[in-house]
C-alpha cells in the first residue's frame, strides 16, 4: 500500500543506533511504509540517515482517549490542530471521543471524523462512537451501523457522561459483542456528583468546593465489572482516578472479567492540593485526587492492573478557564506532554522500563481499539509506526508554543524529561528533529478501503 504513496519514492530512512524499547542499540531501515530491516550496521543505500545514538525507538503511541472537538467546537480544537499535537507528542493513532457537536452517534458523523483525520494525515484518527443517542443515556445509538461504517468503530463511549442506567449499560455491553466492540465507561455516579467541583476530602472541605467523592467512581466500576462478567462482554474503564477503583479492577481481573483500565498522565502526578490556587487549569473530570491515589495508580500501571495511559486530551478556549473555578470547563490538554509525564512518573521512578512504556502507550491501547497495524513490534515486515525519543532531553512546558489550540496545560512552567525527536506514521516522518514535518498523504478513499488498509500493511 505505502508504495503507492505520493512521496514514497524519497521515503526511505535509516535510523542508526537507536535503543529499541530501551534495549541495545540497533538500526532500523524504514522503506515503503514498513520496517524493511532491523539489525546492526545496516547499509544506508540511499536512505536518509537519522543518527539515533542515545535515542529510544518505540512503537508509535496510541491514545485511547482524545477529544478533538471537531465537528462543532472548532474554537477549542480541530482535527488538524489536535492531530498535529498528537504527532508532536509521539502518537501515530488517536481515538477521537464522541462528544462533538453533533455527537458522533451515527455512521455519518464517525465517517466525517475519519475523513477529517485522513485529510489531516498526521496520525490515524479512530472515531469513537457514542453509546446512546446524543449522549443522553436513554436510547442506544446505532452501534452496528457505526461498526460497519468506513470508520469501523470498535470503541463506544458516552465519555463526559456516565452510562448510569444499569439496564442500558447491560444492553450496550451485550450488543457490542456482535462486532467485537468495547464499551468505554466514564464511571461517575451522577447523583453523588451533582454540582461536583473537585475531589471530596480534606482540601475540598477547606476550599468550600462541592466534593466529587471517590465512591461515585468506584460504585459504577464495581457494578460494571459485574455486568461485564454476567454478560461475558468487554469493558474498558476510562480515566481511573482512585485507589479504590484500582482495588476493584484488580479483583475483577483476578476473577477473569474481561476488563481493561486507563489512567491519565495527570492522575499519575498531580493532586487536589493544586486546587488551593483556585486556578481552573487544575479542574478536570474525574478530579485530581490525593497523593495516596496517585501512588496506587502508579503501582497499578506498573503491575498491569491498569492497562493503558490515555491522555483525555481536552482542549478548551481560554475564556472557559479564565474565570471562577465553578464556572470553568473541566479538562486539560495532554497529547504533547503525555510521554514526558509518564517518563517522569513511571520510568524515572524506576517503576517501569521503556518496554513497559511501549505496552501501556501503544500495544495495549491498540489491542483495546482493535487497531491491527498499530502497537506492533519493531521488527522487519511490520508497519513503520515508530516514535524516536530523546530520554535525556529536558524542556519547560509553554502552552503558547504547543500545536494544540488549548492553552490549558496543568504542567505549564514545569520542567519535564524526554522529548520526541521523530514520529513515523506509516513509514512517513510526520515529525523530524522534534518539529512537525509533513503529513502522510492517504490515497483517495475509493481505492483504499478500510478493510484492506490493515491487510496491505
Amino acid at each position: 500500500m505505502a508504495s503507492q504513496q505520493q512521496d514514497a519514492g524519497t521515503g526511505a530512512y535509516l535510523i542508526r543506533g537507536a535503543a529499541i524499547l530501551g534495549g541495545a542499540p540497533e538500526d532500523l531501515l524504514i522503506r515503503d511504509g514498513i520496517i524493511a530491516e532491523r539489525g546492526q550496521n545496516l547499509p544506508a543505500g540511499g536512505a536518509t540517515v537519522i543518527e539515533a545514538a542515545g535515542l529510544v525507538a518505540l512503537p508509535g503511541m496510541v491514545d485511547i482517549h482524545t477529544h478533538l472537538r471537531e465537528p462543532g467546537r472548532e474554537d477549542a480544537e480541530t482535527v488538524e490542530t489536535g492531530t498535529r499535537a498528537a504527532a508532536l507528542g509521539g502518537y501515530t493513532a488517536v481515538h477521537a471521543m464522541a462528544n462533538s457537536t453533533p455527537v458522533a452517534d451515527t455512521a455519518g458523523v464517525v465517517e466525517q471524523v475519519l475523513t477529517l483525520g485522513r485529510t489531516a494525515g498526521w496520525v490515524d484518527v479512530r472515531p469513537v462512537g457514542a453509546v446512546t443517542v446524543g449522549l443522553a443515556g436513554e436510547q442506544l445509538a446505532e452501534l452496528g451501523a457505526m461498526a460497519d461504517s468506513r470508520a469501523r468503530v470498535r470503541v463506544f463511549s458516552d465519555d463526559g457522561i456516565c452510562v448510569h442506567d444499569p439496564v442500558l449499560m447491560r444492553r450496550a455491553l451485550e450488543y457490542v459483542k456482535a462486532f467485537d466492540g468495547v464499551v468505554a465507561q466514564h464511571a461517575q455516579e451522577p447523583r453523588l456528583t451533582a454540582g461536583a467541583q473537585m475531589n471530596e476530602g480534606e482540601v475540598s472541605a477547606v476550599l468550600g468546593l462541592t466534593g466529587w467523592p471517590a465512591v461515585a467512581e468506584e460504585s459504577i466500576i464495581a457494578r460494571d465489572v459485574l455486568l461485564a462478567q454476567h454478560v461475558g462482554s468487554r469493558l474498558h474503564v476510562c480515566h481511573v482516578s482512585t485507589a479504590g477503583s484500582v482495588e476493584i479492577i484488580r479483583w475483577a481481573k483476578s476473577r477473569g472479567v474481561n476488563v481493561t483500565a486507563e489512567v491519565t498522565p495527570h492522575h499519575l502526578w498531580l493532586t487536589d492540593e493544586l486546587a488551593r490556587s483556585y486556578d481552573p487549569v487544575y479542574k478536570v473530570n474525574p478530579p485530581l485526587r490525593t497523593d495516596a491515589d496517585v501512588q496506587a495508580l502508579r503501582a497499578a500501571l506498573a503491575d498491569g492492573t491498569i492497562d493503558v495511559v490515555g491522555t483525555d486530551h481536552a482542549p478548551h478556549p481560554s475564556e472557559h478557564k479564565e474565570c471562577e473555578w465553578a464556572q470553568a470547563a473541566m479538562g486539560m490538554t495532554g497529547l504533547e506532554t503525555a510521554l514526558s509525564v509518564v517518563q517522569h512518573t513511571m520510568i524515572e521512578t524506576g517503576l517501569m522500563g521503556w518496554a513497559d512504556f511501549a505496552r501501556v502507550t501503544s500495544t495495549a491501547p491498540a489491542a483495546i481499539g482493535r487497531l491491527e497495524d498499530q502497537g506492533r513490534p519493531l521488527d522487519a515486515g511490520e508497519p513503520a509506526n515508530v516514535t524516536l525519543v530523546d530520554p535525556a532531553a529536558r524542556w519547560t512546558v509553554d502552552p503558547s508554543k504547543m500545536a494544540t489550540m488549548g492553552r490549558n496545560s496543568p504542567f505549564a512552567g514545569r520542567e519535564l524529561p524526554g522529548k520526541v525527536v521523530a514520529t513515523f506514521f506509516k513509514g512517513h516522518p510526520t515529525v523530524l528533529d522534534g518539529k512537525l514535518n509533513t503529513p502522510y498523504r492517504w490515497l483517495p478513499e475509493t481505492t483504499e478501503l478500510p478493510g484492506t488498509a490493515a491487510g496491505s500493511n
Binding site: 467541583q197 471530596e200 476530602g201 480534606e202 482540601v203 475540598s204 472541605a205 477547606v206 476550599l207 468550600g208 468546593l209 462541592t210 466534593g211 467523592p213 490556587s277 483556585y278 486556578d279 475564556e319 479564565e322 474565570c323 471562577e324 473555578w325 465553578a326 464556572q327
Partner: protein
C-alpha cells in the same frame, strides 16, 4: 498585607493588628464628627455577584467614614453566557481606577482569582465567597468575643487574643463560609472551638480541622461554653435530605428556650449568644435567645463597620502600588515603616 482573602492564611500579628485598629475605628463612631479624611481620593468598589444588603451597607459605611469614594456594582446574572465575565468586570473596574475591590461572589475562590490574576491591580477584600470564607465576618465575631473576654478578665482588649475562650459553633457547617473563617481565625487567636452539627452538615475531612466536632448541642453546653454561635440554616436543605424536618432540626440543633434556660442552670452566666444574621427565628435560634441580654447580634453588626474600616485602612494605607516610590523617599528608609514600633520623626 496586600489583600484580605481568607482567615486561613491570616497571621496572628495581622489579625491582632486588624482587631486593634478596629478598636480605634470604633472610637471614631463615638465622636461628634464620625468621619476621617484618611482615604480621601481613593475609590472602593463593592462588587456584589450575590445579594447581601447587610454586608454591602456595612462596607459602604466603613468606606464612607474613611472618606473614600464608593461605587456599588451589583453584578447579578452570573453565568458567563448571560453576562460579562469576572475577567471583563475586573478589567473594567481597573480601568475606572478602583483602589480596592470588595467582592461578594457565589463561587468559592472568586476573590482569589481576582487577586492572583493580572486582571486588576487593586486590593481585594473577600466579602464572602461561596461556601469558602467570609473573613471580615470572622474578624468582627472575634472582635466582639475579645471585648467580652477582656471585660471579664478586667484587662484591655488592645493586643489581646482569645486564649482559653471556649467557642461553640452550631449549624450548617458544610455550607457555611462563616464557620470556616471562624474556625481558622479562632484557632489563630487561641480559642477552643467545637463545631456542633448533624453529621450530614459537616464536610468530609472536618476531622483534620483544628477544632472538636460534636453531634450533641446539650452535651457541648454542659461541658461549658463562653460563646455560643448559631449559624443560619436554610429550610430548603430539608428537601435535599440533610435533615428530616425543620422541627427535628430545631429540636436537636437549634438554640431554643430550654437551652437558654440551661445556660443559667449550668452556671454559665457570662456566656454570650452570637449569630451572623440574618436569623431564622424559631429554626436555629429562638426569639427569647436572640433578644436576651446574652445576645450580641446587634453589637456584631456595629463592630462590623469598625472591622471593615480597619481592613480598608490597613490595605489602602500601605504603599502597595509603587514599591519604587518608597526607595526614592527622602524621609526615611522603608524598613523602618514596616513595624508599628518605628522610630518616628515628625515631618
Amino acid at each position: 498585607m496586600r489583600h484580605l482573602l481568607s482567615t486561613e492564611d491570616l497571621s496572628r500579628s495581622n489579625a491582632i493588628r486588624i482587631l486593634d485598629t478596629a478598636e480605634e475605628m470604633a472610637a471614631v463612631g463615638e465622636r461628634e464628627v464620625k468621619k476621617l479624611p484618611t482615604l480621601r481620593g481613593r475609590t472602593v468598589v463593592n462588587l456584589f455577584f450575590e445579594d447581601s444588603t447587610r454586608t454591602r451597607i456595612s462596607f459602604e459605611a466603613a468606606a464612607k467614614r474613611l472618606s473614600a469614594d464608593v461605587i456599588n456594582f451589583a453584578a447579578k446574572g452570573s453565568s458567563v453566557s448571560k453576562g460579562e465575565s469576572l475577567k471583563d468586570t475586573a478589567q473594567t473596574l481597573s480601568a475606572m481606577g478602583a483602589d480596592a475591590v470588595v467582592i461578594r461572589h457565589w463561587a468559592s475562590g472568586a476573590p482569589h482569582r481576582l487577586a492572583a490574576t493580572d486582571w486588576i491591580d487593586a486590593a481585594v477584600i473577600n466579602a464572602g465567597d461561596g461556601t469558602h470564607e467570609h473573613p471580615t465576618q470572622a474578624l468582627l465575631d472575634a472582635f466582639t468575643m475579645r471585648r467580652h473576654w477582656s471585660k471579664l478578665a478586667g484587662t484591655p482588649s488592645a493586643g489581646a487574643d482569645l486564649t482559653g475562650m471556649r467557642v461553640a459553633i452550631a449549624g450548617d457547617v458544610l455550607h457555611s463560609r462563616v464557620a470556616r473563617s471562624n474556625v481558622w481565625l479562632l484557632r489563630t487567636l487561641g480559642a477552643e472551638v467545637t463545631l456542633v452539627a448533624p453529621p450530614t452538615l459537616l464536610p468530609i475531612g472536618v476531622e483534620k480541622w483544628p477544632c472538636s466536632v460534636s453531634y450533641d448541642l446539650d452535651e457541648t453546653l454542659a461541658r461549658g461554653v463562653d460563646a455560643m454561635m448559631m449559624l443560619r440554616v436554610q429550610g430548603e436543605r430539608m428537601n435535599a435530605s440533610f435533615f428530616p424536618t425543620t422541627r427535628e432540626y430545631s429540636r436537636r440543633w437549634g438554640f431554643d428556650d430550654n437551652r437558654l434556660r440551661a445556660l443559667d442552670s449550668l452556671g454559665l452566666k457570662d456566656t454570650i449568644i452570637m449569630h451572623p444574621g440574618p436569623m431564622n427565628r424559631g429554626l436555629e435560634i429562638s426569639s427569647a435567645a436572640a433578644d436576651s441580654p446574652r445576645s450580641t447580634v446587634l453589637a456584631q453588626v456595629r463592630n462590623g463597620v469598625s472591622i471593615r474600616m480597619a481592613a480598608l485602612y490597613l490595605l489602602l494605607s500601605g504603599d502597595t502600588r509603587e514599591p519604587a516610590h518608597q526607595a526614592n523617599s527622602t524621609h526615611s528608609t522603608p524598613a523602618e515603616h514596616t513595624s508599628a514600633l518605628v522610630t518616628k520623626e515628625s515631618h
